[in-house]
């Protein structure tokens, strides 16, 4: 019998789930689906970012994202793509400075999708907001509609793309929540993994619809915020300690 890693993990996950009592899993159930299985509405992927743990001056998440997705610039910060960026907030009264990563917030009601004239900007059934660059005409309405300035336009010819992250001139792009990793069942994103390896653990990836997931448990027990919650976009990225 020839089984690959994914099938092995699925078997292991099933075994772990079967042998222990419900809710008491030895290994968290493998989030991997088989390649022929479509993304499902049973999940909603998101991140929980603890701004208190986010270190000032650390760019591990940004670097990891750009490396993972082959996001390269031309040394022109004004126009180079930014899938994720570090934002520094300063309280003018107290002088307190806070640093946090900001990326596409993967809204439940994404304004970028509302304004897209071609249907290129869309929300996948599991809550990941993406740009279908095959359909994108580069009008940049979505960039203007996004309250988080999360999207970038590619102005110049691009080379050295990653096989799992095609990117090219004349289209808009943004954080994909590492959709290739999600589909593979890695159970993390490049930024979350890098933050963990840097020892900060400020970013947690998980399934907002799974009550047993760590992200859901933390959201249920600890205070958290959505950025611009007044817009009622129900973002998939939540923040703590703002």
């Amino acid at each position: 019998m020839n089984i690959n890693r994914r099938q092995f993990l699925a078997l292991g996950g099933a075994a772990a789930a079967a042998t222990l009592a419900p809710g008491l899993r030895l290994i968290e159930l493998a989030q991997a689906r088989s390649p022929e299985e479509a993304a499902a509405a049973a999940h909603r992927w998101g991140l929980l970012i603890d701004a208190n743990k986010c270190a000032d001056g650390c760019t591990a998440c940004v670097d990891a994202c750009f490396t993972e997705n082959g996001v390269t610039g031309h040394g022109r910060p004004a126009t180079d793509a930014q899938w994720i960026r570090k934002v520094t907030l300063k309280d003018k009264q107290t002088g307190q400075v806070q640093s946090l990563p900001l990326m596409c917030q993967h809204c439940e009601h994404p304004p970028c999708v509302d304004v897209c004239p071609t249907g290129a900007s869309f929300k996948r059934i599991d809550g990941i907001v993406l740009v279908d660059k095959h359909i994108c005409i580069g009008c940049r309405y979505c960039m203007m509609a996004c309250p988080y300035k999360a999207r970038s336009f590619i102005h110049e010819d691009t080379t050295g793309q990653k096989a799992h992250a095609p990117r090219g001139k004349g289209t808009v792009e943004s954080c994909t929540l590492c959709v290739h990793k999600v589909d593979r069942g890695d159970g993390t994103t490049a930024c979350a993994e890098a933050c963990r390896q840097a020892g900060h653990q400020a970013i947690l990836f998980g399934d907002l619809k799974d009550p047993a997931s760590e992200i859901s448990k933390r959201l249920a027990t600890q205070p958290s915020q959505q950025l611009r919650a007044d817009l009622k976009l129900n973002t998939g990225i939540r923040y703590q300690g703002l």
Binding site: E36, A38, L130, D132, K162, A163, P166
Partner: protein
Amino acid sequence: MKTVFLKAVLALALLASPAAFAAGGKKPERVPLPTIQVNKDRGEQCVEPTDVMRRNHMQFILHQRDETMHRGIRTVKHSLKNCINCHADPKTHSVLGKDGFCESCHRYASVSIDCFSCHSAEREARSAEPAAATGPRALKAAAKGTKP
């Protein structure tokens, strides 16, 4: 009536052509046939029969692209990545270039493909996708329920 007209046009063309060649001095050469390097890197047989692939490869990858992009279905069989991984030139690791699998033929047919303004034309490192599990041979075997 139509055929009469066609015959007349053909006759005129035949009459005119020697004169044209005489004026040019030399018979124009045919566009050289492409030297396609098939590069069966990860298996002997393509995912579909050759004649099917020649006619329908664009439909396969168009269909797959929507399935993958919008529904997250990432089967390897008809994916562009799989084409590239198998057919990339062993030296340049690319399907582009003068003798590249994609470019040579599309250039001959004068079809401009814009896949590679976004997609990488280079094959992935072998370790990323084990050939045994995803190659055409394995797919065929899986369909039959036998070992590759």
